[in-house]
Amino acid sequence: MHIFINIFGLHIPSYGLCFTSALLLCGFLIIRSAKKRGICFEDMIIIITATMSVAIMGAKLLYILVTYTPAQMLGYIKNLDFTFIIDGGIVFYGGLIGGILGAIISCRLLKIKIVDFEYCAVPYIPLGHAIGRIGCLLAGCCHGFEYYGPLAVKSEILADGKMYFPIQAVEAIMNVVIMVILLLYRRKTDKKDISDHGILILYLLLYSIMRFTNEFFRGDSIRGVNILSTSQWISVALFVACIAAIVFRKKKN
């Protein structure tokens, strides 16, 4: 696997390339969908930018909350050391929550129906996620458990000589499958009067099942609290919330 890709003699970081390509491709596809729903290009650019920015802040905030204790954070702040804010990583679920909040606020400000934005954007979230996971595969991070069977991969970041289960590739494929399901659902409901959040509920339901299952195959570190990882606990809560939302929708209809 390759941390850097050689393009015309330039060493381009593979993860950064995948991350940015995912953002640009999904942005393009969302704007194209938005045109069909009558949302103008400028409004869409603002909503996408605001959503992504709040998503990244949310992802970072959740990472900080699960990584540092309040005492540790206070210690850093007292010493005027704010590097803990930029050090380390992000958590996808924090990004999802932040993204939903960012979308709600920006849609409200621009007087656009959040449901219209959902139907444009939600099917392409798993596509962006899949491309990001390919970046992880190339860099060798977010790897699976130690494994020496078929399709085992090395981790260039760790460079420890061990082989790992290619969970990043599995997650990428599962994300593409989720995207196809969402696109088929959107095509089926497109001509109807959409006033509920069916496509978002469907995505969260499918993603929570996928994430809960895949966490068992991750081996990049000891993860979480008690038996399950942090993401698995969030997946369980999300799954229950989605089922409750579906039951509520059925009763309402």
Partner: protein, 87 residues
């Protein structure tokens, strides 16, 4: 708004090559995109400047993200392991 977008776009494009100045080009790029889009939408006379600001902000952000985004998801895993030791 169009002029502000242009300036922010230039700032983002110029400083995106320096990782240590992420606090400058990242918010400048985000603000440049939002102001550029608003400028295109609301202003009839400075459309060209707003578009230029928008495009430069997008390019600056894209270049900065390509060069300096590491695989940040992984570090969350290591962070979670600290939490387990704490409990």
């Amino acid at each position: 708004m169009a002029i502000a977008a242009m300036i922010l776009g230039i700032v983002s494009l110029v400083f995106c090559w320096f990782a240590a100045l992420w606090w400058l080009w990242l918010p400048a790029g985000v603000a440049g995109i939002i102001l550029g889009a608003l400028g295109k939408k609301n202003s009839s006379s400075k459309q060209g400047m707003a578009t230029a600001g928008l495009v430069m902000s997008i390019i600056g952000l894209a270049l900065g993200l390509i060069c300096f985004v590491a695989c940040i998801g992984c570090a969350a895993c290591y962070g979670a392991s600290d939490l387990v030791r704490y409990y």
